[in-house]
Structure formats: structure tokens, C-alpha cells
């Protein structure tokens, strides 16, 4: 018996630990997959470099401090001024109004989906949310210009509606766009809360509402906050709606609801038309605003990732 085992070991390759072939096909596929990963990283790096490369040119003309704290944005005036705050204020107002809509509706939808909806409802509502998330924002923008803005204007005669544009309506519209994102990320966070926690609360005589609000919501809070940050970051980046609904805006810093206002994205989209001459201050200013926008979004997303990781630590 034992001799036959030994014979098999030495005499044939049946027990060899070496690979039977070079597995060329597998190596090629791995190479292609690596190439795909490398290209996407490479392109991202190239975008960041192209965004930041023109900055020295810009700051040759403009003092960085004046750029960050100036309250007049008039790059094409004869007496040009490059204070970015009016654009930043426009962007932040969009974010503010957007969160006014996105947080309560997105979170409400998430609580409903995660804690109340049956499987049947979920199966219908989740895909609808995903479709909404992918809806071209220009369509949402048109809806806002021709339907939402007139309707809000009519229902609020006590506000001073003097312009066809409104930063407030733009923000609320962007808020609608963020609802699916906030709802779906918050829903995932709440569904990740172990059933055992809910059962622990039910076993104490808690109602469904109390379980949802006092146990699941606090347990999922990092994921929920992350969804808010992602929503805000989406609002910062939104361009089309702001361009359509808030208009170009005045060069001055303005805070309000019914005024037109520029935002960082909308400025870039309206100026970077291809006619613009490379190396001019106009050209540089686009990149300066773009780089600032990139940094703001990056910071927001890093905050969101931190929250999500903190959430994971608790239950993994």
C-alpha cells in the first residue's frame, strides 16, 4: 500500500505542485484589467494637473489673498476684479437651499424605505430612485424654469420677484436632484444596522416609529451624515440647473432668494466656450475657480468617507 503511494509520487506528475501550463490567457486578461485601472487613475491625475497647471499664471496677475477674500467678481471689466467670494456665496446658497429640500425629503424617503416599506414597494421605489439619480439635470432645470419657478413665484407674492432668475429656486431644484442620492445612501446605512438591534428595542415594547427614530437612526448616523455631505458635494458641483435657473448673476456678493446669482460651476460653464484665448487672464480665471471648486468638493468627499468608515468600524 505505502509503496504504491510512493510510486505515484515519484513516477507521475499527478501530485506535482507546479502549474501545468504558463496560463497565458489569464496573464493577458490580468494585464488588460491592470491597464484599465491604470488608465482611469492616469486620466484622473491628468485632469487634476491640467486644472492646477495654469494657476501660477493666474496668481502672477492676482494676489491669492485678493482672490479668496475679494467681494467683486468682474474678470471682463476694464478695471478687472477677481474676488471669488460672490461665486462662492452663490455656490453656498445653492447648497443651503438644496439641503433644505434634500435632507428632509431624502432622509424621510430613506426611513420609509428601510423601516416601513414592504419588499414589494422597495422593489419598485429603489429603481425609480436610481433612474431619478441618472436623469439629465438639464431636464430638471427646464422643469424648474417653466414650472417650478412660476409656481413658487405665484405662491409667494410677498417676496420681491424682479428677475427671471432666482438663486433660491435654483437651490431648491438642485435639492430635488440630491434626494435620490441622499435617500439611497441613507437607506443603505440604515439597512446595515443589524436586525438584532431592532429586535432588542422591540422586545422592550418599542413601537416601530420609536425603533426607527431612536435606535436605527442614531446607529446609522455616520452613514446618514455621509449621505448629507455627498448630497452637498453634488449640489456644489451642479452646473446646468444653476446656469438655467439662477442666471449669470451680478458681480457683487449677494445673499437672497429671488435674486439672480452666479455660482462657481455656472461661471466656468458660461465662460469656457473655446473662443477664449489661452494665456489671457480670462482663461486663467476659469482654472482658478475650477481648482477651488475641486478642492471644496474633495474636502467634502473626504469628510463623507471619514463618516462612512467610522460607521463601518462599529458593526464589522
Amino acid at each position: 500500500m505505502s509503496s504504491s503511494i510512493q510510486g505515484a509520487r515519484s513516477g507521475s506528475t499527478a501530485n506535482s505542485l507546479r502549474a501545468p501550463s504558463f496560463r497565458l490567457g489569464e496573464r493577458i486578461v490580468i494585464g488588460l484589467l491592470f491597464g484599465a485601472a491604470a488608465i482611469s487613475v492616469g486620466v484622473t491625475i491628468a485632469i487634476v494637473i491640467s486644472l492646477f497647471a495654469p494657476l501660477p499664471g493666474f496668481f502672477e496677475y492676482v494676489n491669492p489673498w485678493d482672490f479668496l477674500t475679494g467681494t467683486l467678481w468682474a474678470p471682463s471689466f476694464a478695471d478687472a476684479s477677481f474676488g471669488v467670494l460672490p461665486l462662492v456665496a452663490g455656490t453656498l446658497q445653492v447648497v443651503f437651499y438644496a439641503m433644505l429640500v434634500g435632507i428632509p425629503l431624502g432622509l424621510g424617503a430613506a426611513i420609509y424605505l428601510s423601516e416601513y416599506a414592504g419588499n414589494g414597494v422597495r422593489k419598485i421605489v429603489k429603481p425609480i430612485l436610481e433612474v431619478l439619480e441618472g436623469l439629465p439635470t438639464v431636464a430638471t432645470g427646464l422643469f424648474a424654469v417653466f414650472w417650478l419657478k412660476p409656481w413658487i413665484q405665484e405662491s409667494t407674492p410677498f417676496l420681491e420677484w424682479t428677475s427671471p432668475f432666482s438663486i433660491g429656486v435654483a437651490g431648491l431644484t438642485v435639492g430635488i436632484i440630491t434626494i435620490p442620492l441622499i435617500a439611497s445612501v441613507s437607506d443603505d446605512a440604515m439597512r446595515a444596522v443589524p436586525m438584532a438591534l431592532r429586535e432588542g428595542a422591540y422586545a422592550l415594547g418599542a413601537t416601530k416609529m420609536r425603533v426607527a427614530l431612536k435606535v436605527v437612526l442614531p446607529a446609522a448616523i455616520s452613514g446618514i451624515v455621509a449621505s448629507f455631505v455627498l448630497g452637498a458635494s453634488r449640489a456644489i458641483g451642479e452646473t446646468m440647473v444653476v446656469l438655467l435657473v439662477a442666471g449669470g448673476g451680478s458681480p457683487q456678493l449677494k445673499i437672497g432668494f429671488t435674486e439672480p446669482a452666479g455660482a462657481m460651476t455656472a461661471f466656468i460653464a458660461s465662460r469656457a466656450t473655446g473662443e477664449i484665448a489661452t494665456g489671457t487672464i480670462d482663461y486663467y480665471s476659469i482654472f482658478a475657480v475650477g481648482a477651488l471648486l475641486f478642492l471644496m468638493t474633495l474636502i467634502m468627499n473626504m469628510i463623507a468617507i471619514r463618516f462612512v468608515n467610522k460607521f463601518r468600524e462599529v458593526y464589522d
Binding site: G118, N119, P194, A196, L197, R198, E199, G200, A201, Y202, A203, L204, G205, A206, T207, R210, K214, V215, P218, A219, V314
Partner: protein
């Protein structure tokens, strides 16, 4: 016949011909079981024979599982627990539960215990309620200096005693325990067993355990469940084989399957 027969108190639960379906599949069937006041009743039997299923039907925890359906009759102090007017939330206020894996809320130790009393809007000084419950759960001395710390920082045994404290803080009538020691070390297990002996003065306790020594140590009466093998291939329906005083189940059971199980020949 031994003459150490226990005098049975009031029946807290009376199960007659009780069954549970999960969707189409029958999990347990034909359970007839009384559970007496201020006693510890143990449920033992091989894995998958429906012990947890029966336990969870005693406080309508099964309502949370889509498709779960209880048949037959479950009386609680003579009331039909699955009657149309019964509110499951009300049921669970009276019948608390401790789970297999400690499941404290991700809150402070204090807030974990206070959650139930706050839920029920209990009157009285919350600090006193929390202290009382922690003392009853033999946890007060361990945690009195760190009530504001997160419960996740406690050891597994402490977490489980916290879950017991949380359950008794609402002053229930019954405490159901589903393998409460299965995730714990022997020392924590003994602490919880001591605690159960102490608690049965005030509460009725039903415990599921896979640990026969534990049933023998703590339970006044024991119910032995198994999978019914006479229902044909492929079906795995749990059934109650025998229910009696614990000493009888372990020394002189009426059914040979019980004897095989408690002597370790099976399961």
C-alpha cells in the same frame, strides 16, 4: 414515583396544539406546554428543532419575520395572545427578551438601561430606575463609575448582563432568554445563571439552551424538543417530545428519545 414533585403555580402561558409556519414550511407543530409563574422553564433539544421559534412566539417577536404564522393557541394568563385585539407592542412590554448574542444599543450604558423605561414613559426618578436595574443584574459595581461610557466597550458577559438589566428595567412579567450564555465564557455564564436564580423570585423565566448542564442547574421544568422523524424524508418539523420537572427529564424521562439526548447518545 419520586415525591419531590413541585407545586405548580399559576400558568403564565398555556400552549395548546401550537404550530409555527415560516411561509409554506412548517417549523414546529403540535406543541402543548404550560409555563408556570416564578419558575425557570428550560427548552432543550438539537439545533433546528424549533426552540427559538416557540420562544419567539411567546412575545410575538415572530411578527417581525415576514411570512411567520402561529397556529393553535397561545394563552397568556388566560388571554389569547394572537387574538385580534391584542397589540404586539403591549405584549412585549410585559414579556421581555434576552437574545443569543448580546445586542446592546450603540449608546451609553445608562442610556441602554433607560431606553425601555423612557419608551414606556415610566414614572419616577430615571437615575434610580437605572441603578435598580443594574443592581438587580449584578452589574452596578462593575459600571457605576462609567455609566456614560459606550456599552460596546464592555466585555461580552457584561454586555449580556446589561441586556438583562435593560430587560428588567421595564419591570416585565416574563423574561424570555434565547441561549443567553452561548457566546460567553464559563465565568460569565455562572454569573448569569446565579442572576437567573435570583430573578425568578420576581419574574417568570423561559430559557432556551443547548447546554444540558445549564438546564439541569437552573431550570425547574424542562421541555425537550426534537425534529419529528416520522413525517417522512426531507421534512424537518420540530415537536415537543416531553415536558416535566427537570430532575425527572434528566434522571428518568418517559420517552427514549429524551433519554438518548440527555445521556449524549444523540445530538
Amino acid at each position: 414515583m419520586e415525591n419531590n414533585n413541585k407545586v405548580a403555580g399559576n400558568e403564565v402561558f398555556s400552549l395548546s396544539n401550537m404550530s409555527v409556519h415560516y411561509g409554506e414550511s412548517l417549523a414546529v407543530d403540535g406543541v402543548n406546554l404550560p409555563i408556570y409563574e416564578n419558575e425557570i422553564t428550560a427548552m432543550i433539544g438539537p439545533s433546528g428543532c424549533g426552540k427559538s421559534t416557540v420562544l419567539r412566539s411567546l412575545n410575538r417577536m415572530n411578527d417581525l419575520i415576514p411570512g411567520a404564522k402561529v397556529g393553535g393557541q397561545v394563552l397568556y394568563h388566560g388571554q389569547d395572545m394572537y387574538g385580534p385585539e391584542v397589540d404586539p407592542v403591549q405584549v412585549r412590554k410585559l414579556i421581555g427578551m434576552v437574545f443569543q448574542k448580546p445586542n446592546p444599543f450603540p449608546k451609553s450604558i445608562y442610556d441602554n438601561v433607560a431606553f425601555g423605561p423612557q419608551t414606556l414613559g415610566m414614572k419616577g426618578d430615571m437615575d434610580e430606575i437605572v441603578e435598580g436595574a443594574l443592581k438587580k443584574a449584578a452589574l452596578w459595581d462593575d459600571v457605576k463609575d462609567r455609566l456614560k461610557d459606550n456599552a460596546f466597550g464592555m466585555s461580552g458577559g457584561q454586555q449580556q448582563r446589561l441586556c438583562i438589566a435593560r430587560a428588567i428595567a421595564v419591570k416585565p412579567d416574563v423574561i424570555l432568554m434565547d441561549e443567553p450564555c452561548s457566546a460567553l465564557d464559563p465565568i460569565s455564564t455562572f454569573k448569569i445563571e446565579d442572576l437567573m436564580m435570583e430573578l425568578k423570585k420576581d419574574y417568570t423565566i423561559v430559557i432556551v439552551t443547548h447546554n444540558m448542564q445549564q438546564a439541569a442547574r437552573v431550570a425547574d421544568r424542562t421541555a425537550f424538543f426534537t425534529v419529528d422523524t416520522e413525517r417522512g424524508e426531507g421534512s424537518r418539523v420540530g415537536q415537543l417530545v416531553e415536558f416535566d420537572e427537570t430532575s425527572k427529564i434528566f434522571s428518568n424521562p418517559a420517552d427514549s428519545r429524551t433519554l438518548d439526548y440527555v445521556t449524549g447518545k444523540f445530538g
